[in-house]
Amino acid sequence: MTDTDEAAPAAGNGLFDRRFFLRAGAAGGAALLVARAGAAERQPWMRAPGAGMSDHGAPAPQTSHIRRIAVSSQPGTTGAGVSRTPLEFLDGIITPSRLHFERHHSGIPAIDPDRHRLVISGLVERPLAFSVESLARYPQVSRIQFLECSGNSGGMIAPEPRQASCGELHGLLSVSEWGGVPLSVLLDEAGVRPAARWVVADGADAAMMSRSVPLEKLMDDAIVALHQNGEPLRPSNGYPMRLFLPGWEGNMSVKWLRTLRVTDQPAMTKDETSKYSDLMADGKARLFTFPMGVKSLITSPSPGLFLGPRGVYQVSGLAWSGAGRIRRVEVSADGGRSWADAELDAHVLDKCATRFRSAWHWDGAPAVLMSRATDDAGNVQPTRAAVLAGRAANAFYHYNGIQAWQVTADGEVHNVYA
């Protein structure tokens, strides 16, 4: 698999120009595929009609290992914890709903949609209640956007790099098509008073999870989501309705949304003060750090996957930013000494993850792969050292540092700081 003469290297240690795969489709592409389709005889599954239709699809049994990972709860609870998306096993940008990460504070409530209402009150002219049924009658919007927990990748602050899979390290990130009703429509109907600045959102879980959201964000691009990837929300993602705030830390997109209290000030709830705030080294803490920073990571190869023989590999990953669209992703195969632009898949969307791909000729020697994203606001993904500079030693929220994976001569992939 060394048929790479036609492609010019774009960066050190075997990275090709981003157009490699387009050309390779005609020329060297065959080297990427293992042609074993000896179709001379009928395989066993071709000798009789297969299974019939069903009313419910399911993944192939052979892919049953692709499931949420690192499922963990706080001691003494079953519902205060997280589960993560196995990013290393997925391609494209959409996270299958069954694999969307979870972060619950007191489990998943079993809500009767007929008895659930969204109440808007506080600094409004007309306090209003909306049933699930009535919200479904409003004009809907849908967008493909990412949701990332503010604590995602928090393990990267550890002094020594944790050896875990890509999903275990970074899997509090998922991407869905979210559909629902713009908050601006509902707030306009209630009539927001001039003094209003914030809206306190409560969930209908047993912890009544609560966050204060700037009114400006709700009037901008927030929705009351009813649908995820075309189907009604799943209970683990807020059925029958949740707040969805594009690009902002996931905790604020309150699931099982029950009340929106319009106020002139934030409520300073437990989660927005004692938890999702960022302690700095000088002992001061930053409050209300809402948007998620520009970030990328290579999902393949990554820990949990293995390289076979030396040759050409696709280096593929996700890039996203809470500030807007991804403009550029660069990939390095020599630990950041040189970089080549990656090819971006067709879907480059606002506050959504973008799939990037590069072609890399692995010569069989140890190598360090990295990716670096730039968004359309000009923000460039920082290094790990830059993220941690000035922070308290145990401040783990909003980590968006450049991820380095070391490929060993054996084809294993390790998490390294570089």
Partner: protein
Amino acid sequence: MSMHKARCLAAIAALAWGPAAADDAPALGEPLAAEEIAAVSFTILPDGSGLPPGSGSVADGEAVYAQHCLACHGAGGEGGPNDRLAGGRGSLDSAAPVKTVGSYWPYATTLFDYLRRAMPYTAPGTLSADELYAVTAYVLHLNGIVGADAVLDAERLPAIEMPNRNGFERAWPDQ
């Protein structure tokens, strides 16, 4: 207030926020009576608005804590399997910051609010307002913020100056 007036105000709000789809929206929100709103309103602001009537003492709070909190949060709030609630003062700028109610939380009202919403973990909503004030007082006492004879209510709780009250800088503008 007449319906007509409310509709006019809503239209003004829509104009103030720029182009909105309000004209096309079906307006299916149902009006609510004050008691219906109150039944689902749990928001408590740092100025104390939203706090319920009632009061509780540190002494009573110690008993509530022993029964409902100790198993997870440890004797004296020193932490059990779950979050440590007391201590850590002066540690925030050290190499090993310890974030507790006393060392980190900027507002005392937040403690009452969270307890009322979510605690005790296995039976949220079962403590009375008096019990909530009491256990709030006890946890604040464990942090040396109120005295052993303190009694808290809707007036006294928001007046408490938390040690780390000025330890936060807002990254999002208030206006």
